[in-house]
Amino acid sequence: MAIADTAGHAPHTGKPTGLGRWLFATNHKDIGSLYLWFSFIMFLTGGVMALAIRLELFSPGLQFWQPELFNQLVTLHGLIMIFGAIMPAFNGLANWMLPLMIGAPDMAFARMNNWSFWLLPPAALLLLLSFFVPGGAAASGWTMYAPLSTQMGMGMDMTIFAIHILGVSSIMGAINIIVTVLNLRAPGLTLMKMPMFAWASLITAYLIIAVMPVLAGAVTMVLTDRHFGTHFFNAAGGGDPVMYQHVFWFFGHPEVYIMALPAFGIISQVIPTFSRKRLFGYTSMVYATASIAILSFMVWAHHMFTTGMPATAQLFFMYATMLIAVPTGVKVFNWVATMWQGSLTFETPMLFAIGFICLFTIGGLSGVILSVAAVDTQLQDTYYVVAHFHYVLVAGALFSLFSAVYYWFPKMTGRMYSERLGKLHFWWSMVWFNVTFFPMHFLGLAGMPRRIPDYALQFTDFNSLATIGAFCFGLGQLIVLYNLLISLRRGPPAVEHPWEGAQTLEWRIPTPAPYHSFVEAPEVDADDNGVIHAVRGGTHH
């Protein structure tokens, strides 16, 4: 027994090498890196599609793409950014950092972790290949509303199966995160002391498990409507196309929090570090996160104000939506209060975090405006909505990801990124992001619909401006790519403690993080937001 035991736990001497290290990986750090690189590639892929969209919209009339292809580009841009870039990136960060932050040897199910990742490339491949099949890729928008989606060519079927696979992947990833957080925390790190990033990942994972199956159900019904004669979304047989929207948005609204809560978690780690203060109002942060998650199940029909719902339903969903602004406001307040009277420094992660707070708040406020049913009747499906969700997704989710990657880069790689390039990347992104997306508010208010390849002449100026902004923004992302690649190889070695304000557990282990960290669980003396006073035990190799 004892012999078998040591065999099983034998310190995995050295790293696996070659391609097998990545294909067969069971190490959370390797899998985390895979996730992060994959999502960056998807970000560039989706970004190229965005630029193709903006290119067409530079001036009125049809210049580059036929409307069919334009719609396919819009659809795939949305799907790839959401399911290929943002969600996997957060999962990758959780993979990398959670075990280090809570003192776990790895993720709870290391082998399943591998599968969660390796299901992503096949799904992405299905999506991208669908451009080349008869009829082209899905052109229904990422929302895949029936009856559009019940009519298209086989690209739609490939999209449906891709979504099934993505669902399996993210559900397994989420189960892994939940079990790791609940079961593998180091003794002493109780739930109400855990870092906010762990809380955010935990609650996000719960949302994923709750809604990805619903999306799977929705697209499965689309599939059977398309090929097996059902009438779920067809009134001729007693179904209803609006039902699709209900099922979809029951998934869809929690989905936006799946892309926002982990961002909140990251910001709640970065802001205290660079303010050299404790996070203000930790407990209220935890409850705010939880209540956002619960409320997110009760607001889905704010995407459907123009579908002819009864007025009472409109009122309910309007007020419920506004209610979410309360816990969100609590968070913004707490971040600002954390910075208040702190000794702030503005390294790249902090810049992105502050940029996040400013711009996410703008996106949140335009969200409150959209939640007013009477206003949304005007703005639904206009560029105002496009502006709104890019403020929360690009300046929100994406900026927080940049912040996180810069923040943890020294711990992950043992090298320092170039601060100069980092700052350039931030200011460049900040400026061009606003040049791209701020004018879209005006376009939407003036009535320009979204998802069209052509527009009326009076919209030209703002559109041209947005296109210039988009190309510059896109170009700026090469700065971070270059910075990361060059720093990986030639960056100066990171010091043991690059950020003196960082107090969570991951900064208590050697830099770069050993391949197997916390093979033995440490015992920690912890405080709010994962602040560590003392660590006993816990071996690495």
Partner: protein, 285 residues
């Protein structure tokens, strides 16, 4: 001392090639299915290859897990992880059925009454918002609905009994009565198979005598989708229980280490509860 050292080491598996084979399998299945349902060449072949790969992967992967379990690599903490994991997996399944039940309720409570109201009289003058729905321009052939108090009621009894037999087996496991354990499991598997056989029989009755198909409008689609996905889950549950039974026959598990058995039992109870919901809302009311 020994135990504290053990409990401090959480088991982390060696690199494994099974997940990537599983990914290849799902890729082939997705691509193959998309080609097959659009009558493109090689679609069904690729789909079949994907399924074969998946089956191979499942055998290999679960084989590894079982061997690790037998080597005593899983301790209390790992066991707890498995339990949480299975619980959350079942929750995801609940949400999947939730979407389909949501569609059923939506159709019955919202879309049918609306299609039959005054506003729609102009569009569908003949439409009668009855349940089971019999009219509608998309419903081409007449059909009859299923009766609750025939086969479905018997099937309810069978599943409920099987819930009792699996609990009996569990009781045997906890007290070390291997005979009870083995017989209880075998009985449960048999009941599962009987349920599935009766369900197949019911389907063929519905298809051939009642003329009820997936294309029979709102009633047919919800009937087949809900009972069909439930049936698939019963099939899966039966297979899992059968594997557990085979493992019991080989002397696996003891009073303390039998997570696989409990996971199978939880899954079986979940399938049971879904059936009760089905019986009430699809067959009966």
């Amino acid at each position: 001392m020994q135990t504290t050292v053990e409990s401090r080491h959480y088991f982390v598996p060696e690199p494994s090639h099974w997940p990537i084979i599983g990914s290849l399998a799902l890729f082939c299945m997705g691509l193959g299915a998309a080609f097959a349902i659009n009558e493109m060449p090689v679609g069904s072949f690729v789909l079949a290859a994907g399924v074969a790969l998946l089956v191979w992967m499942l055998f290999g992967w679960f084989g590894d897990v079982i061997r690790e379990g037998l080597r005593g690599l899983y301790h209390a903490q790992e066991d707890m992880s498995f339990r949480w994991g299975m619980g959350w997996f079942i929750f995801s399944e609940v949400m999947f059925f939730g979407a389909l039940f949501g569609a059923l309720f939506y159709v019955r409570v919202i879309s049918l009454p609306e299609l039959g109201n005054m506003q729609h009289k102009l569009l569908y003058p003949e439409f009668v918002p009855s349940w089971p729905l019999v009219s509608g321009p998309g419903i081409q052939a007449t059909y009859e609905a299923m009766q609750a108090w025939g086969l479905p009621a018997i099937n309810t009894l069978i599943l409920l009994t099987s819930g009792a037999t699996v609990t009996w087996a569990h009781w045997g496991m906890l007290r070390g009565h291997r005979r009870v354990l083995s017989n209880g499991l075998l009985l449960t598997v048999i009941l599962g198979v009987v349920f599935l056989t009766l369900q197949m029989w019911e389907y063929s009755h519905a298809l051939h005598e009642l003329n009820l198909t997936l294309a029979s409008g709102a009633y047919g689609m919800t009937f087949y989708m809900l009972t069909g996905f439930h049936g698939l889950h019963v099939l899966l549950g039966t297979l899992i229980l059968a594997v557990v039974w085979l493992r019991v026959r080989r002397g696996h598990f003891d009073e303390r280490h039998h997570f696989a058995f409990e996971a199978a039992a939880w899954y079986w109870h979940f399938v049971d509860v879904v059936w009760l919901m089905l019986f009430v809302f699809v067959y009966w009311l």
